[in-house]
Symmetry: C2
């Protein structure tokens, strides 16, 4: 390759973030603009373009290509985006082609969960792995399956919805319509919801005091802080969360024979409170043939995982 830089576009519902990234995964320059998703695709695309232009104008270097991590159903081979949630009017938008033509360079589009997995593959925890399962714990629970250093796309590009593996057919109702999905326990809002319910039975916990006496807002971060302060209830909450994830991940490993797991997203910041019981649950639950092969690691890319995953698309495709 001639150049040493790529552009990564992290397209979100409220803001679009664009970074100039070098081939080792360092972000050299970053810009952010509002997405204006409610104004329809033309406006969103002009925001993306303006943000890319701003980064390029500030950095007179040669760029290898542009990667875009987008919500919604992405057909990576065509660079099209369909129906991102909260993006009205998006139907078969040829985002890759439009951006590629605007900037006269290759542009690659992937679903944001897949881009996160590719980011870890190229720059992060998966650099030394041929195959791994990536789970991103955020508002939703995203997934990506890397098999032999390629994303497993399935028949239409929708594969990897690992958050919608159900661990309990009579479990918590998920917004997807199913019951007991991993997301229905581990997605940020769901997590807060069931912890709030359980909290009523643990009025002596530190977390109860913070939330119901000191009026702090119950968030995943607050749960972690209580665990760090050795609050028994908060620690047990994280163990329960880890177990639910472990049950689902075990099924994925049994089905896919991919025993390497990378966990990213905000809740991965729970650290050993989460990773220790998660590892134990997976090893307890997977079939015998996988027990000694399971590896579990936190994602390496943190706050800028969106930009870096998008940037990685350029190197992955090349």
């Amino acid at each position: 390759m001639a150049s040493e830089y790529t552009i990564g576009v992290d397209l979100g519902g409220t803001s679009v973030k664009v970074g100039l990234t070098d081939f080792r995964g360092n972000i050299i320059h970053k810009e952010c603009m509002p997405t204006f998703a409610e104004k329809g695709p033309d406006k969103v695309i002009s925001q993306i373009s303006a943000c890319i232009r701003l980064v390029l104008d500030n950095n007179p270097v040669e760029v290898e290509g542009i990667g875009i991590g987008s919500p919604g159903a992405v057909i990576a081979s065509k660079g099209t985006v369909d129906y991102p949630p909260n993006f009205p009017g998006w139907e078969s938008i040829a985002l890759g082609k439009i951006i590629s033509e605007s900037f006269s360079m290759p542009a690659y589009v992937e679903n944001d969960a897949n881009a996160a997995a590719i980011g870890e593959l190229i720059f992060g925890a998966g650099k030394d792995l041929d195959s791994f399962i990536m789970i991103t714990l955020g508002t939703g629970v995203g997934g990506g399956i890397i098999f032999e250093r390629k994303i497993f796309h399935g028949t239409t590009g929708a594969a990897g919805e690992l958050g919608h593996i159900s661990v309990d057919y009579q479990g918590r109702k998920c917004k997807c319509g199913n019951y007991g999905c991993m997301e229905a326990y581990a997605g940020n809002n769901y997590l807060v919801e069931w912890v709030e319910e359980d909290l009523q039975k643990h009025i002596n916990s530190l977390l109860f005091k913070w939330v119901h006496i000191e009026n702090e807002v119950l968030t995943p971060k607050l749960i972690h802080e209580a665990a760090v302060k050795n609050d028994d209830f908060a620690i047990k909450v994280i163990i329960k969360l880890a177990q639910v994830l472990g049950y689902g991940i075990s099924s994925i490993i049994n089905a896919s024979d991919i025993p390497n797991v990378v966990i990213g997203g905000g809740v991965a910041g729970f650290g050993e409170f989460l990773f220790k019981p998660l590892n134990e649950t997976i090893i307890e639950r997977v079939m015998k043939t996988h027990k000694s092969r399971v590896t579990l690691r936190p994602a390496v890319l943190k706050n800028e995982a969106g930009i870096l995953g998008a940037s990685a698309l350029v190197l992955y495709q090349a």
Copy 2:
């Protein structure tokens, strides 16, 4: 190809079945011998060879190759077999190489569940499908994932253990060590076990009468016969079975984006009693994007699925 015939070897714990098969999936000649698994690999291999020899001696035609469907962990690319359950002494047995050299023709080995999927791909319900999920309902619940007309092998060849997807982390104990696996409800012995338990609460059912007054043995077949005779309890049993399978299959579809499902094995003989609630459950449970795309069909290969799946390996590899 020069010839029009293949040899298919269905290696089981008690008997080895060998068939001469034409390229359309008709079995021309079939032989069966005891496996003598307890006598170790050399004896088993000599039984396989003797059975193949018998078929060849009776049919002086040119044969394209030999396919072998084997229990245990098979590395298809190497033709090796490890640890088939109930086959003492099997460790990295180069079954493909040994048989290929004995008969001076190509030999291909696959895990029996994968061979069943390949049989449907080449000769059966999957002929017109690029990608499908195959579930075989027998003593265990086997699985195979066909993606773009190839078996998805995973990292070591162990992928496709779909029977060990758990639908209820607090559910029935499975012999794999996990809880709530599809196999722990739908495997023949497990099915008989929980139906026997439920039967005690349904003493007015036809099935209760047959089993506890007329001393018939409770089998999947007997459950089906009671359903055919409109026994409300038996019909509900099959619906419950279908739902459990539907819960697990929905998770697989969400993860893999492969919405085509083929169901084989003895219990698939329950027909519409099983397929109607199974289809309803899957459509109810999968993510919206898949609902209109789900197809569910019974396997086409029935009693001779083992031989035909093995025979299909030759055509699949060629």
